[in-house]
Subunit: 225 residues, 2 copies
């Protein structure tokens, strides 16, 4: 039975639990247990019956598969706040397709699957509400990916500008079309334009057609970090 | 009614549709329409009744909010293959909280929401199956984020190694602990170790305690791209 108030709260805030009616959530907590794993401790083996799913409270857990040759293939690194093995539960898989072990001292909530699943089957509205919060969560992650990709592309664009600038006046004159420069940098032309406009908005560069002037070199270098 | 075979297939493969029974999927297609938007064309306005959700087939769409001062705040950029506004449908929101317009010529599938939602309410198993495929999708995106973060951290580590190396023998002697170096590079010590081990495995560096020897400088520079 899960009683630790801060961990109950962490669970309650997760998108798989935030939409559960109070009574159902209490039942879930009654059937949940807290688990501690030391670094390198094993949580489950590939092929074990999949009866529970997990929320990582602290530490780090790796999911991996062992190939026929005994080689270990990393599947995913789980960070605190993330759940794992819940997809198995939704799809009623019988066995865990991966092994899991801690790569730091870890604390987890282990949640009984059948009861949770039953609650969703009985209450389609709850199931839809969870779909809604999972959708929102997914959109946030897609946004994160967009930002990360943009950050990496920005770094390439800034590198390019700093390399190509005339040291006397800080000017970069693009010798070829923006489309070609973008392709040379391995990014989409639209992304290239988006980044240049962002730098103009930030007052870091000025741009007139193929003439780009670096206004704040140090700030530009810092932006890249 | 949606009939174009390749677009029907694209829809069928999406995690919101892949688990629908054939008959339900056909009904969804019967109520879906194909929409073309020219660049800058508007799909919906913030506050419009939320009756449909969308799958972007090609092009690019931005979701944005307009503030009281008339300023436009970007919420998300939608890429081909992504759905949007489906979370509203699951949660039965009445109005779109954002506006959407095309930032490239775009093709979309516009899907009637009530019917889709009704199908899930009537068949909890389908709803759970969609939860399962959405979970898997979410885990894949978390993995993408992990890889992108690692790529950006790798770039910082490699930059550091190239800067600090002794030009005569390609050796880097860490003057302080790995923990401190990691913190200086703004990454977690575990991530720093993970990256170093990856470079060792790739034959790019050799490592003995605080001595790191660069074995393949050009390959290391290329790795950074």
């Amino acid at each position: 039975m899960l009683t630790h108030p801060s961990i109950v709260l962490l669970l309650r805030r997760h998108h798989l639990f935030s939409q559960l009616p109070e009574r159902v959530f209490e039942d879930v907590c009654n059937l949940a247990v807290l688990k501690r794993l030391e670094c390198n401790g094993t949580l489950m083996h590939q092929g074990d019956p999949a009866k529970r799913f997990f929320l990582l409270v602290s530490g780090q857990v790796k999911l991996f598969r062992v190939t026929g040759e005994g080689q270990e293939n990393l599947v995913e690194i789980i960070q605190p706040g993330q759940t794992f093995a819940e997809a198995l539960l939704f799809s009623q898989a019988r066995c865990y397709p991966v092994s899991a072990s801690a790569i730091k001292d870890s604390v987890l909530v282990s949640i009984e699957g059948t009861h949770y699943r039953k609650a969703l089957e009985d209450q389609p509205k709850v199931c839809l509400a969870i779909l809604a919060s999972m959708s929102i969560h997914l959109h946030q992650r897609l946004k994160d990916i967009d930002n990360l990709t943009l950050a990496s592309a920005s770094r390439r664009v800034i590198n390019f500008l700093l390399q190509e600038r005339d040291p006397r006046d800080g000017q970069v004159v693009l010798q070829v079309s923006k489309r070609l420069v973008a392709s040379k940098l391995g990014i989409q032309p639209e992304t290239f334009s988006r980044i240049l406009h962002r730098l103009v908005d930030g007052g870091l560069i000025a741009m007139e057609r193929r003439n780009i002037r670096i206004l704040a070199e140090e700030a530009l270098e810092a932006y890249q970090q």
